[in-house]
Amino acid sequence: MRRGTILIIDDDPDITEAMRIILENKGYEVRNALDSAEGMNRLKEAKPDLIILDVMMRTSQEGFELSRELKHNVQYKDIPILMLTAVKQKTGLDFKSAAGDESWLPVEEYLDKPIKPNVLLEKVDDLLRKS
């Protein structure tokens, strides 16, 4: 049963592994990258149906920067992004109002760590159904 391909871009291999198990368990195909550059390479290899993106990697804003870059790229702008961050925490920015500004932070959903299996699956299902 193939339900879709998900690309996880996160520098924490353990969180990545946990998400991989949860998602593969439900029949998703999972690939992963440890930083933005590797993420771009994976994207070029094959276009995923959904990207799960961590905000803080090498820099505290790396995820934001990548998401902006992707949403300005005609090829990738339609891929929904699930961003791993605590709303209103990591940066102190007001995500609710910032999310209204498409060009500023164009991601579709947020999820805080630690990963709760059912919450993750719900959000992923939701995003894939909408896209």
């Binding site: 198990i21 925490q89 630690p114």
Partner: protein
């Protein structure tokens, strides 16, 4: 040498001098009136009233100038304010000498009033400035009494008060002038010495305070860094454990499941603690609120809704009374709602089954006052002053919930105080406690 006051308080001092001058003008007019009408002292009344009238005009002009220079938050340089003060003091010396000239010269004991100007100069101005003012006072007074004695200046005698001819007695004139001069210089010297000690003390307090603030910031940065790193690891641990616990990687036997569930519960608690500490520390470090107009009323209903289930589970009746005038305020809605919810949860947590929790919201002048009263265990009197401190937990609270973070009320205090409000708790006479906090409707006011 710096002045004892910073430029903003120098401005306040300049206004203070103007206020003092109003009193002095009133006193001059009153003294002239009383001395001439009731004490039978012969005075050039019209000259003295004219001086008083001119002083009124002078003071109004000064007031307007000062207002103009400090208009709408414009902050004039310390130099300029200093200059204004110097001119005021010098002009006052000249005016006092003029008044003395028209009211008996050396025979008028009001010449002691030069001492006040010396004190004011020594407190507000530099050492050099103060000695220059003392010199000016000596020259003015000396010139006055010497010229009057020599007949160069007219003498307006105080008939009916002082003996005739004293102003012509050279021995008396120089004796008085000598004591006058010594007194003024000594006064300046002593006032400056005391002022310097105060300034030194003030400086060392300020330095100590800045050092403490720096250390506190360092501590907070350390805690932030630490909790952030721990949170990263803990999130990974918990994410992995959840998968095992949910049996996604194969079934567990009963013993295994029990142990993994215990581990899960403990990591959740640890996570809650770390998250609370991270939030509190981050707020202390940045302290920037994202102010917006929001409906406090809506926040209150959201909080009441989130606590409803827990209350029902313990058969606790949660009632509320909200002043209809309370609605929009300026603040950060998420933080206020979280604080309110925390405090309601606390009330429910520490109230035995079947008890009552009551939320009251009232408008109290420019503040909104929120109080949460419960019929719970109350706070032991010894713990009452400390419950808003970080990690502090009252003894009886510990007995009910062993693993509380001890950060909930510290967070509430941060949030409320950042908004310019106040938070406190008290025990009710019939048992239970009341937690109260205030929030300005418009955060430009601070509660005293």
């Amino acid at each position: 040498m710096e002045s004892l006051f910073k430029s903003t308080s120098l401005i306040q001092r300049a206004y203070w001098l103007i206020k003092l001058r109003w009193v002095a003008i009133g006193a001059l007019a009153a003294a002239t009136f009383v001395a001439s009408q009731f004490m039978g002292v012969s005075l050039p009344v019209s000259a003295l009233y004219t001086i008083a009238a001119m002083l009124v005009i002078y003071n109004f002009i000064l007031y307007d100038l000062l207002r103009y220079w400090t208009w709408a938050g414009r902050e004039p340089s310390e130099r300029r304010i200093g200059g204004i003060l110097t001119c005021q003091i010098s002009a006052d010396l000249l005016i006092l000498a003029t008044i003395l000239h028209f009211s008996g010269g050396i025979e008028n004991p009001f010449f002691f009033f030069f001492a006040f100007h010396m004190m004011i100069a020594s407190i507000l101005r530099s050492r050099l400035q103060s000695y220059l003012q003392a010199t000016l006072a000596v020259l003015l007074f000396g010139g006055l009494v010497v010229f009057e004695a020599a007949g160069v200046l007219n003498h307006h005698g105080l008939e009916g008060f002082a003996g005739h001819g004293l102003y012509r007695d050279w021995r008396f004139v120089f004796g008085t002038l000598f004591v006058f001069t010594v007194t003024l210089y000594l006064l300046v010297y002593m006032t400056i010495s005391i002022g310097e000690q105060l300034r030194k003390q003030q400086g060392s307090y300020e330095r100590a305070n800045a050092q403490l603030e720096g250390k506190d910031r360092l501590k907070n940065e350390y805690v932030l860094r630490l909790t952030h790193d721990i949170k990263g690891h803990l999130a990974a641990v918990q994410s992995c454990l959840e998968i095992v616990c949910d049996e996604m990687v194969g079934p567990l036997n009963e013993r295994q499941k029990d142990l993994v569930e215990r581990a899960c519960r403990r990591t959740s608690k640890c996570m809650a603690f770390i998250t609370a500490l991270l939030k509190l520390t981050r707020m202390k470090l940045t302290g920037q609120l994202e102010m917006e107009r929001f409906s406090l009323r809506q926040c209150i209903f959201n909080s009441l809704a989130s606590v409803q289930n827990r209350a029902q589970g313990k058969s606790i009746a949660v009632s509320h009374q909200i002043d209809p005038a309370v609605d929009e305020i300026l603040g950060e809605a998420v933080l206020i709602e979280e604080t309110l919810t925390n405090m309601l949860f606390n009330a429910v947590k520490y109230t035995p089954d079947g008890g009552k929790v009551r939320l009251e919201v009232k408008q109290d002048g420019v503040f909104i006052r929120v109080s949460i009263t419960d019929t719970g265990i109350g706070v032991p009197d010894a713990d009452l002053p400390h419950i808003f401190e970080e990690f502090y937990r009252a003894n009886n609270a510990r007995a009910i919930e062993r693993d509380g973070t001890g950060l909930g009320l510290a967070f509430a205090k941060q949030v409320v105080e950042r908004h310019g409000g106040r938070i406190w708790a008290q025990n009710n006479p019939n048992g239970g406690a009341t937690f109260i906090f205030t929030l300005p409707r418009n955060t430009s006011q601070q509660e005293p």
